[in-house]
């Protein structure tokens, strides 16, 4: 699972910044989403109460996680939903392949699922001769171009309509060129309706799984999730093991805060509760429903009391919508399934803190993500924790790759830093030099060179505050 080379967020981000179209697309979209979310929470007290409640519900679920998963499995079994467990993505892919092959399924139509992205399920199935077609409009758009999602809620947010118009006219049979959004949507509808009709199986993610009733909850606007889970004879749902909650009542506030935080909607078009396959006397609905529960590193994250908060995430995307870095570089620069702030803490924990050291540092720690997160995940604190893990192997944690991001030069720099700053006399000498000769430092010196890419070189004052206070003679205690 360890990547060979370090992945450089800095380089990818720098490249993304050179694309003015991309920057404009994201800025416009994020400004809109921020304003829409804000309008959904006119009363700060309600917002805070709802966040506290949601956080408590997610924390409770995690505290009882093994019990809830067992209860979910039992409830599902009672309802006729078959539950499967996968430790790794590879296992999950094989499981799904097995389920499909057992039914002789050749085509799979997919509702939106980030876990299936995590598994790279589409590529895997294609390699086994099974067509996996994305049906969420955004996912469909990026699948046509062989791209990955640039946002967890709005996967095609990096594209504008001219780009989509060109793409449709080239890649959809008999499609004419149009920039009219309604016409573009109609084209996709036509193609995908036929696919729903023909598909041998449907796949979906899970927003919340209810242990007590054995219910899979799906939040969506388009209806493709319902199509994928109700029309084909076989439905396979995939979820990360953290998605379970105890009761359906607990889902209500989570759902309320999810749609508001994500897209600034009070409610989604559909909130679909699936508690079983086609029942006695029912005329439609799948004959079989399977649920695949994926670990993929989550149980390791779970083992750490601080890092466990990462698993509270309900994948609303608000952290990326409000992130000043994400807004400027977009989702692809992260080279990760989950971009933005949540991706910055999740990806290194899954792939290793050493290989993702650059990503962990790609944050100004401004705190906007933690401020809006509906389940109060302290993302900046976790980032700092991961920075420690990346450079210290003696933390006694379960973090992958701990200590592997350490470099001799950084080590040396911090030692020197502390060596001077814990000795006021030395600091006094250093500032004396800085105030007298700081001007003379070349703008091309390492680090200063990075600073002066966009700014003038900072010049120390002629006399420091301490020096002036000393001259005043009143400073001594």
């Amino acid at each position: 699972m360890h990547a060979e080379k370090e992945i450089h967020f800095r380089d990818a981000a720098a490249k993304a910044l050179l694309d003015p179209q991309l920057r404009a697309n994201f800025r416009r979209a994020m400004d809109g989403l921020i304003a829409k979310r804000l309008a959904q929470f006119p009363d700060p007290r309600d917002l805070q109460d709802l966040r506290d409640l949601s956080t408590a519900i997610r924390s409770r679920s995690l505290l009882c996680l093994p019990e809830l998963l067992e209860q979910l499995e039992a409830s599902c079994a009672k309802n006729g939903i078959k539950v499967h467990w996968a430790e790794t993505c590879e296992q999950a892919n094989q499981l799904i392949l097995g389920i499909l092959q057992a039914k002789g399924a050749k085509t799979l139509v997919k509702g939106k699922s980030m876990v299936s992205e995590e598994m790279h399920l589409n590529a895997f199935l294609e390699s086994k001769g099974i067509e996996a077609l994305e049906s969420d409009l955004g996912e469909y758009i990026i699948q046509l171009d062989g791209e990955t999602p640039s946002h967890i809620i709005m996967p095609a947010i990096h594209k504008n309509k001219d780009q989509i118009a060109r793409q449709f006219s080239q890649k959809i049979k008999d499609a004419k060129y149009t920039e009219d959004v309604d016409e573009l949507t109609a084209m996709a509808r036509k193609v995908l309706r036929q696919k729903f009709l023909d598909a041998d199986a449907g796949l979906s993610g899970v927003n919340f799984a209810v242990a007590e009733t054995g219910t899979l909850c799906l939040v969506e606007n388009e209806g493709n999730g319902r199509m994928s889970t109700h029309v084909p004879p076989l439905h396979i749902a995939v979820m990360g093991l953290e998605k379970v909650v105890a009761r359906l009542e607990d889902v209500a506030p989570l759902y309320a805060i999810l749609t508001r935080s994500a897209t600034g909607q009070a409610v989604s078009t559909y909130f679909n509760l699936i508690t079983g396959p086609r029942g006695e006397g029912e005329k439609d609905g799948p004959q079989e429903v399977h649920l695949v529960i994926l670990d993929n590193g989550r149980s390791r994250i779970y083992a750490d009391p601080q890092l466990r908060a990462t698993l509270r995430c309900i994948r609303c995307g608000a952290c990326m919508n409000h992130c000043p870095v994400y807004t400027r570089v977009g989702g692809h620069a992260y080279e990760a399934v989950y971009p933005g702030p949540i991706g910055k803490i999740l990806t290194p924990q899954m792939e290793g803190v050493g290989v993702r050291h650059d990503l962990i540092h790609g944050s100004s720690l401004c705190g906007a993500c933690g401020e809006v997160c509906p389940v109060e995940i302290p993302i900046p604190e976790i980032l700092v924790r991961l920075r420690r893990e990346a450079t210290h192997e003696d933390m006694g944690s379960t973090v992958v790759g701990k200590g592997t991001g350490r470099t001799a030069s950084e080590d040396w720099a911090w030692r020197l830093w502390a060596g001077v700053l814990k000795r006021p006399a030395l600091y006094r000498v250093a500032t004396w030099f800085a105030t007298r000769f700081g001007k003379a430092l070349p703008a091309s010196a390492p680090l200063i060179r990075n600073w002066t890419q966009s700014r003038t070189k900072p010049v120390p004052a002629r006399r420091s505050l301490s020096e002036r206070m000393r001259a005043e003679g009143v400073s001594h205690e």
């Binding site: 100004s364 450079t391 000795r423 105030t435 505050l465």
Partner: protein, 248 residues
């Protein structure tokens, strides 16, 4: 908090103010003194330790933090002219010293920490009289002042007391200016894009001065403005308040 106004406080300059904005530090001290408070400025101040803390070098951060805490033994408020350093000392020191033998001592220290405008408004309830020429300014709120420290409009309230000052709202006021300490040199491209947008928003307000309470933000925004030879200036809020209200 009101009612028992302290007679004596400590002042912690912070490394950036010490070295780059000493006038802001002096102004903060003057504002406190004028409010009838005796200001003690202990010798031996260096840095709160935030850069090492944020980068994950907690032993080094603790070494430095310990020497700083030791400078403030008396049970007096500790006032900082910086949101992020105050946030570090107030909110993050308890994390940094969690489980350390001197945790209790550090926690007691953290409880005494205030950012300057917070102290001027919430504790001292100062009243300002504007003696300056009419001017239009805009306000950049420091991320850590708002999100770590929980500032709730204290700086704006102080600016609001000045009759000749027009406060122009800054678009995306709560968005980070891109400084982020070592972030600015580890990810100079993104950081640069952020500060470029910040100065564009600030310029669009038509103000002649951008005010802030954070040395890092000030240095960052100032550097970017200078690089563009902009006429727009930055100033620490303490210096601005003091200049406009002091008897000449």
């Amino acid at each position: 908090m009101n009612g028992t106004k302290p007679k004596k406080v400590y002042f912690y300059g912070t490394c950036l103010v010490d070295l780059f904005f000493p006038d802001a530090g002096m102004a903060g001290i003057q504002l406190l003194r004028r409010a009838g408070v005796e200001v003690v400025f202990p010798e031996g101040q260096t840095c709160c330790g935030q850069p090492a803390f944020n980068c994950g070098y907690w032993e080094e951060a603790r070494d430095v933090a310990r020497t700083q805490v030791a400078l403030f033994p008396e049970d007096l408020p500790v006032i900082l002219p910086s949101g992020s350093c105050a946030g570090m000392m107030k909110v993050h020191y308890p994390e940094l010293f969690h489980g350390q033998p001197d945790e209790a001592k550090v926690r007691a220290f953290s409880a005494r920490v205030y950012e300057l405008t917070q102290f001027l408004v919430d504790v001292l309830d100062v009243k300002l009289q504007d003696l300056g020429e009419p001017v239009k300014v805009t306000w950049h709120s420091s991320c850590h002042a708002v999100r770590d420290l929980g500032l709730k409009g204290e700086p704006q309230a102080l600016i609001g007391q000045l009759s000749n000052v027009e406060l122009a709202p800054l678009a995306r006021e709560y968005e980070c200016c891109g400084f982020g300490g070592t972030f600015s040199v580890r990810h100079p491209e993104v950081s640069g894009a952020m500060v470029a947008d910040k100065i564009a928003d600030a310029t669009a307000t038509g103000a002649s001065v951008v005010l802030s309470t954070d040395g890092g933000c000030l240095m960052n925004v100032n550097g970017a403005l200078e690089a563009k030879s902009s006429k727009l200036k930055v100033q620490h809020i303490a210096e601005f308040l003091w200049e406009r209200t002091r008897a000449r």
